[in-house]
Each structure stands twice: as C-alpha cells, then as structure tokens.
C-alpha cells in the first residue's frame, strides 16, 4: 500500500493505493493522520480511487481515525470509493458514519459549505 499527501487549501488529501489489510499499512495510515492532527490539520479527505482491498482491520483503522479527527473538531471524508470497497461500507453500515463523495473535488468542496 502507498499513501501520498497533498494540501488543497486547508484540506489535507491522503491518496491510498493498494490493499489495506493490517500492519504495517494500517499503522502507516494511522501515523499519517495523527501527524496531520498534531500539525493542526483536521479537515482530511481520503481518496480511495486506487484502493483495491480492505479488511475488517482496515475498516477498523478508518473508524479509529475518524474518532480521533472528530475529537479534534474536524472530519475525515472519503472520495472515489470503489464499488467493491463501498459494498463493505454498506454491509458494515459504515456508510451511515462516513461522509462519502463521488469525486475528490466534491469531497474537498464539502468543507467550504
């Protein structure tokens, strides 16, 4: 799995490519998000266009990250969720918890509303 990071205004975008199934990848994502929070960035978008596979451990990492970001007064929103990954969000009811957007632009713009 690879994570790349960019800033669009005050919104941090983390682009995840590959599989998110467990350590060390889940730790890498968690650390990246905690670093952003420490730096004062609490508006985060995860771009999941390139995510191929996610396990319950990966989903659990998303939940833990969302809790941390919301506790800091921000939010963690998802963009470009693939059909396969989306079906897991539906099964686990995480669709009710995360705000998801069809495109990265819409996810970033949602913070301005």
């Amino acid at each position: 799995m690879s994570i790349s990071e960019k800033m669009i205004g005050t919104v941090a975008v983390l682009t995840i490519k590959g599989n998110l199934t467990g350590e060390p990848d889940t730790g890498k994502l968690r650390d990246r998000i905690y670093s952003l929070l420490e730096e004062g960035f609490n508006k985060i978008v995860l771009d999941l266009k390139g995510m191929r596979y996610v396990s319950s451990t990966g989903l659990g990492t998303f939940i833990a990250a969302l809790t941390s970001v919301r506790n800091k007064g921000g939010d963690l929103r998802l963009a470009n969720v693939t059909e396969k990954v989306e079906s897991l969000f539906v099964i686990t009811q995480l669709v009710k918890v995360f705000k998801t957007y069809d495109t990265l632009e819409r996810a970033v713009a949602s913070y301005k509303l």
């Binding site: 659990g60 939940i63 809790t67 897991l88 686990t92 918890v97």
Partner: protein
C-alpha cells in the same frame, strides 16, 4: 475439459505475510467453480478474516503454527474449512459490533466475524476442546451462475 478435484487443501504458517498465498489459492478455486468476480472477492475476504482471527486470537501472533485451508466443491456448494490447533475461540460470545460505541470508545473489534457472516451463506464453528478449531465457510453458487458454468 479437465475435471475439477472435489477437495483441495493447503497449509500455511500463521503469519500475515502468508495470507496473499491463501487469497490466491481461494480465488483461483472460486473462479474455477463459476462464481462472479464479486462473489470471488467476498469469499476471499471472508477467508482472509478467518485466518487473521486465527493468527490474532487462536495463535496470538505465534509465527510458527499451522493453518490448514481445505476447499470442498460439491454440486453448487463451495465450502472452505479452515483448521488450527490454537486457543479455542467462541465467536458466538461476540456481540454484533456497535458502530456508534466503536466511534466513541475507540473500539475496533467484532467487525471480522460480522463481515464473514454477511459475506458467506453459512458460517459454522467446530471445536475439539484442547485440540483444534475449525471454521466452515459456505457459499452456494446461484442457479444463474450454474447455468453459465454449464
């Protein structure tokens, strides 16, 4: 046409870096059986979750234990039996994960077993106290997929 063996099996060591090998083994067998790509992905994820639970809970991350994965294909039934010799694990003791509680209490547990039950048609656990655990994951081939297969 090459006849498909009814039962095939594989044994791997209890390390997460062996899970890719397990995924390939299961996906190839499921695809060959006639499942759609969506079903193949769901079966592979359920097996992955079961093996991860064994590594974490039954073997508690000991890297040198064995996990046996047997696939039995019979008519329209695809069964994956996963066996270990670790600590007994009672999935029925697990409640359905409470997402709201997970969110407020930083909890992440329970999702794996919940996913397995949702992704497969039947999930059963068999224990031999002090000896072995076996989880059986069953998925039925739909009539439509059976026709395509023929």
């Amino acid at each position: 046409m090459v006849a498909m063996a009814k039962k095939i099996s594989k044994t791997v060591l209890s390390r997460t870096d062996h899970l890719l090998e397990v995924r390939d083994f299961v996906s190839e067998a499921a695809r060959q059986f006639g499942f759609s790509e969506e079903d193949v992905a769901n079966i592979v994820l359920a097996v992955d979750e079961a093996c991860t639970n064994i590594i974490k809970h039954a073997y508690q991350y000991a890297p040198d234990k064995e996990i046996n994965i047997a696939i039995v294909r019979n008519n329209g039934t695809f069964e994956v039996k996963i066996k270990d010799n670790g600590k007994n694990f009672n999935p029925d003791a697990l409640k359905r994960p409470d997402l709201q509680r997970n969110l407020t209490h930083h909890r992440r547990g329970g999702l794996g077993v919940y996913l397995m039950r949702k992704l497969m048609d039947k999930v059963e656990y068999n224990f031999e106290a002090g000896h072995s655990n076996e989880v059986s994951l069953v998925k039925y081939l739909s009539k439509k997929q059976s026709l395509i297969k023929k």
